[in-house]
Subunit: 269 residues, 2 copies
């Protein structure tokens, strides 16, 4: 299975410019699955909710989605991409799984980062694994990495590959994703953007270093911090079905869920 | 609060020798809490269950526990130590919290590592946080580190410091504990042994590198791989009460437990 990421630098607010850039770059890519960054076409650093409203799209009638669907059809691959989603009167920091026949899944970021809480609504769709042939992929977005529950939930649902569109500004995530892949024995493709969003309210710098990590936590490839890169490689997703960590231990089967009840209790106090 | 670890090399089967070593070393230590390795007095690499039976002690009538209690009383500190526990007809890889008045808590390892499954029974006591004055400590043992649910459960119960007696043979744990302290914003004291258990069935080498990690995932101190070290330092446990990771995010409060239900579902299939 050929998987990859495209690390680039969206320009804030220039949706069609960013879309053209992606279409041009991926227009000759041979792959099965390519992961793009979070909020891949609008840019990230919104000034307020009004800016989100002006740029968000309903995936059901979106030029961006239609264009990406056509690209998937032409190249016969799938894309997981960050997407600034409008859904009636709500706005989500979402990720779409898009294939040759259109959107196959919408994931809405469950854990909003910092000022995103002002701009977006909290995700309201359960974590779910989707199939690409025999391979199962799970989707999470950027700051979800802090919460081990996310990758774990996807792994328990059978995810072989975690697709992880990101706009990272902190520096911890890349290393932490090695832990996620070790403790769940899954692949993870973290696609980060680079460059700045230079906005009236300030500048935000993104840290690049997109990466692909193998089950067991081995870093296979990592991009530079501030350089565009389309990287595609062959992986064997079946390796993610081997959950053993010793001859007598498997990372999922050895769990003791009856002792983890605090994890699903409603927040109190 | 003065906390520390004693990284040493128990000799297999020589309980009183190992106990004397610890008593001598800690007999003049000024501290509030000292963490010892897993199975700190018996050694680790059992040949079979009969060897466990021969060496395990019931904490209620144990020379080891009585001696450590006297040490805690003399020095006015507490010890968290790995302990080869007999409980009626069961045998556990346990950790004891011992203070000047005796055993304050027994934790029984929930996730047995590799051949331990042949020697020990699985832990059957819920994860629980214990107080040392205003400070809350959580206990886990060695391989529990692989399962993010363990540290998370203790953090949700309010643990400020994770005490982590270990006999590590793999090399991943120390780095992963940085992730555990980042994602939960707790301290962790991982006390590992070093040296070999040279046994008829083979030799097992332990990796040392005991460490203290601060909330946020900062490594404060790490021992060498193969050298004895008693290390004690001042920490401010109140830092573990600050769960913020950005001005708008806290690692526990931002959890979305209603989306984590898979984590506590019974194993199926």
């Amino acid at each position: 299975m050929r998987v990859g990421y495209y690390q680039y630098r969206p320009q804030f607010g220039k949706v069609s410019h960013n879309l053209n850039k992606v279409v041009k770059k991926l227009g000759s890519a041979a792959a099965d699955l390519i992961v793009l960054p979070e909020l891949a076409f609008t840019g990230y650093y919104f000034r307020n909710k009004a800016e989100v409203k002006a740029l968000a799209e309903d995936p059901g009638r979106s030029v961006t989605v239609d264009t990406l669907t056509a690209l998937c059809k032409k190249q016969n691959f799938r894309i997981v991409t960050g997407f600034t989603e409008k859904a009636r009167d709500k706005y989500f920091n979402s990720a779409l799984l898009i294939g040759p026949r259109g959107v196959e899944h919408v994931y809405r970021k469950l854990h909003l980062f910092n000022e995103e809480k002002k701009w977006f609504d909290e995700g309201n769709i359960p974590l779910q694994v989707n199939r690409i042939g025999p391979v199962r992929i799970g989707i999470m977005v950027c700051f979800d990495w802090v919460f081990p529950e996310v990758t774990r939930t996807l792994a328990l649902q059978g995810a072989d590959i975690i697709c992880h569109p990101s706009n990272l500004v902190l520096g911890y995530c890349q290393q932490t994703m090695l832990t996620r892949c070790l403790e769940n024995k899954v692949y993870a493709i973290t696609t980060n953007r680079f460059g700045y969003d230079n906005r009236p309210q300030g500048n935000l710098r993104f840290t690049g270093r997109s990466q692909i990590v193998a089950p067991g936590g081995t870093l296979i490839h990592r991009a530079a911090s501030q350089r565009e890169e389309l990287f595609i490689m062959d992986i064997d997703p079946r390796l993610a079905r081997d959950k053993s960590i010793t001859p007598h231990n498997e990372v999922l089967r050895d769990r003791r869920p009856e002792y983890y009840k605090a994890l699903t209790q409603k927040k109190g106090k």
